[in-house]
């Protein structure tokens, strides 16, 4: 269960104090596939950063399975990211000098899995997202956009996280591939009982998720 209460995030820039999120509250149940929509600058990525413990909120709380991640120390937040959160980025963000298999193995290493079990687990994950054994040994530069995003999803699911945070997961893909990726995420949320929170511009995709939150000027409007 993900519970966000009165979350506010302010930045200071040259023009003064900018409030990116204003008193945001939301709840997503375990295994739910939710989407966040909104225009550019509405605070979607900032919210995702807070939920993923990549940034610290100015005020408010974020509880994941009863633990307030806003109050964790830096090292505890790192551990939280490694074990409880999976990230899927718009531009995949795979490590370019590592193969698809090694990218997934790296996440397993950070999650604390014993070295002897990592390879088998990574192969199983890549297999489940539809990458062949040959493709698993390729570096990201030799994989298509859709294949890279599949690797990214496999990496996000590596440590059986409580939440997968997806930032525009289909934004860099053609519509057909984007649909396949969405279906994959949807299927995994069901099979792995993982909570998925995806930021998207695509209203068709948002419409197929269990719940949709609309952000406008840093506030939840629907």
């Amino acid at each position: 269960m993900l519970t966000v209460k009165n979350l506010t995030k302010s930045f200071t820039d040259a023009s003064g104090v900018v409030t990116a999120l204003k008193d945001v509250s939301l709840t997503v149940k375990t295994g739910e596939f939710a989407s966040i929509i909104g225009k550019s600058g509405s605070g979607k990525s900032t919210l995702l950063s807070m939920l993923g413990a990549l940034d610290i909120p100015t005020s408010g709380s974020i509880e994941v399975d009863g633990v307030d991640i806003a109050k964790l120390s830096a090292s505890q937040q790192t551990a939280y990211r490694a074990k409880k959160i999976g990230f899927v980025f718009q531009y995949y963000n795979l490590i370019p000098n590592l193969t698809a298999l090694e990218n997934v193995t790296l996440a397993l290493e950070f999650g604390g899995m014993p070295a002897s079990k990592r390879k088998a687990r990574a192969e199983q994950l890549l297999d489940s997202v539809g990458l062949t054994a040959k493709e698993q040994l390729r570096k990201p530069s030799r994989l298509s956009g859709g294949q890279q995003q599949r690797v990214s999803i496999a990496r996000a699911l590596a440590n059986q996280p409580a939440i997968v945070l997806a930032d525009e997961p289909t934004g860099n893909l053609d519509s057909e591939t984007g649909k396949k990726i969405f279906d994959l995420l949807h299927k995994l949320s069901r099979s792995e009982n993982t909570t998925i929170l995806a930021v998207t511009h695509d209203m068709d995709i948002a419409g197929k998720t269990d719940r949709t939150f609309k952000l406008k000027d840093g506030k939840i409007v629907a």
Partner: protein, 458 residues
């Protein structure tokens, strides 16, 4: 994939760049090793030269060299000044004289020969002039003078000393073939007699002879292997002073300094205290001037080591800073998916170490190859200066001193480079310092990168 092998592999993501970094590091580390070898070899040679020159300083009355020259003997006050000089551990004073046939009943064991006759020609001429009551002979040619003067007679050298062992020619204690040594501080009418003089006069321990109208008892017989010394007599200093009516006078003092490092300071103090009344000579002083060029090489080598170390550290530092800046986004991703600062820093330190270790292997091999020629080149360039300073100091010195300086001079040509395990360990230590310095600043940069940046740059 193994974590370490993955990080090592990372170091070669850009072969051209890694190759350039390794090459620059290798040159830098090769230079460090070469300079360390040169410095160690030169320092070792400096120590060797210093140890050979000893810690003795000879103080003679100004203008006097052995039985040559002229001037006033050193006084007891001057001797006291020498004894009280800081860092002077001990002194031995001597007063030398030569006995003619009118001073002793002993027959000299040294033959005059051409050399001895020439040394005595002025005194003989003076004697002939006095006897003949005319100065005409002083205008005659040398050959004529020798022909017309009475034949000169050989003399017997008497050395009064506070330390009979100082007469030994090899630096060790005087070798007695029979009898016992004498107390240099006594004033008894006793003597040690050289083996050649003993043989010439059929002396034994306990027998007596006449010197300066006094009866002297033979206490011991010594043999040095040096014909001049073995034809002489050694007495206590006070005895010699009394017999020759030169109370308190000293013709030579040897001061032993507590450490070779203090020889220069003692010489300076003595020159100040005794002013122009004494000539002060020391092999160490001349050697110090001669080794100054080697010390310059040593300093130059140290500067080279420091410079090459700084250059190496800067090369690794800049390379790693460049790599960190280039991979800023990747570092953000790694942190976002759960990578700790320690793991990410560890990866970059491994990369820096990999580049440094490969650079070190190539550099050390390079250093082994060039250190010998480089040391020889550095030393040979200073050799001409050394030869010059040696030859210029030789003219004013006595034979024994000059031979000593020759030995010192020849040592400079024998500086050999050698790579000792110690030098190798130091070079490897410096290499590690380079890697640590080269990694420390990038590590600081890495720790400051926030994972949120990975989303902002999307």
């Amino acid at each position: 994939m193994n974590v370490v092998s993955r990080d090592i592999k990372n170091a070669f993501r850009s072969p051209m760049r890694s190759g350039a970094i390794i090459l620059m590091l290798a040159i830098s580390i090769g230079l460090i090793l070469s300079m360390l070898v040169a410095r160690t070899s030169v320092n070792s040679k400096i120590d060797e030269v210093k140890s050979k020159t000893g810690i003795n300083i000879t103080i003679s009355p100004a203008g006097v060299m052995g039985f040559s020259g002229g001037g006033n003997a050193l006084t007891s006050d001057q001797l006291a000044t020498i004894v009280k000089t800081v860092h002077v551990a001990s002194t031995s004073a001597t007063l030398s004289d030569q006995m003619s046939t009118s001073d002793t009943n002993l027959t000299a064991s040294l033959e005059l020969g051409n050399f001895g006759a020439r040394q005595m020609r002025f005194e003989s001429a003076s004697s002939a002039t006095t006897n003949g009551g005319s100065t005409a002979t002083s205008n005659a040619t040398s050959a004529d003078s020798i022909d017309t003067r009475p034949a000169p007679t050989p003399r017997t050298t008497v050395t009064g000393t506070t330390n009979p062992n100082s007469i030994s020619t090899d630096g060790s204690d005087l070798t007695l073939t029979s009898g016992a040594t004498i107390d240099g501080n006594s004033s008894a009418l006793i003597a040690l007699v050289g083996s050649d003089l003993v043989a010439k006069n059929n002396l034994t321990v306990g027998s007596t002879f006449t010197a300066y109208e006094k009866t002297i008892t033979v206490k011991g017989i010594f043999k040095t292997g040096n014909k001049f010394q073995d034809s002489g007599i050694i007495m206590p200093l006070a005895t010699a002073q009394t017999l020759t009516s030169q109370t308190g006078a000293v013709s030579s003092v040897t001061a032993t300094v507590d450490s070779s490092d203090n020889v220069s300071a003692v010489i300076t103090s003595l020159k100040t205290a005794l002013s122009d009344k004494a000539d002060i000579t020391s092999q160490a002083e001349v050697a110090a001037a001669s080794v100054s060029s080697l010390q310059s090489i040593s300093s130059l080598a140290l500067a080279g080591v420091i410079g090459a170390t700084v250059a190496g550290a800067v090369i690794v530092l800049l390379a790693m800073v460049m790599i960190v800046r280039e991979r800023r986004h990747k570092i953000g991703v790694i942190k976002a998916i759960g990578g700790t600062n320690r793991k990410v820093i560890g990866q970059f330190v491994t990369e820096a170490l990999t580049l440094t270790v490969i650079g070190a292997i190539v550099g050390l091999a390079l250093g082994v190859l060039v250190s010998g020629p480089m040391t020889n080149s550095l030393v040979s360039s200073s050799q001409s200066n050394t030869s010059y300073s040696t030859s210029t100091t030789r003219g004013g010195m006595g034979g024994e001193m000059a031979r000593g300086f020759n030995r010192i001079g020849s040592n400079f040509t024998q500086v050999t480079s050698s790579i000792t395990p110690q030098v190798f360990i130091i070079a490897i230590g410096i290499t590690l310092v380079i890697a640590v310095i080269g990694s420390a600043v990038p590590a600081w940069f890495i720790a400051r990168i926030r994972p949120a940046e990975v989303l902002r740059s999307e």
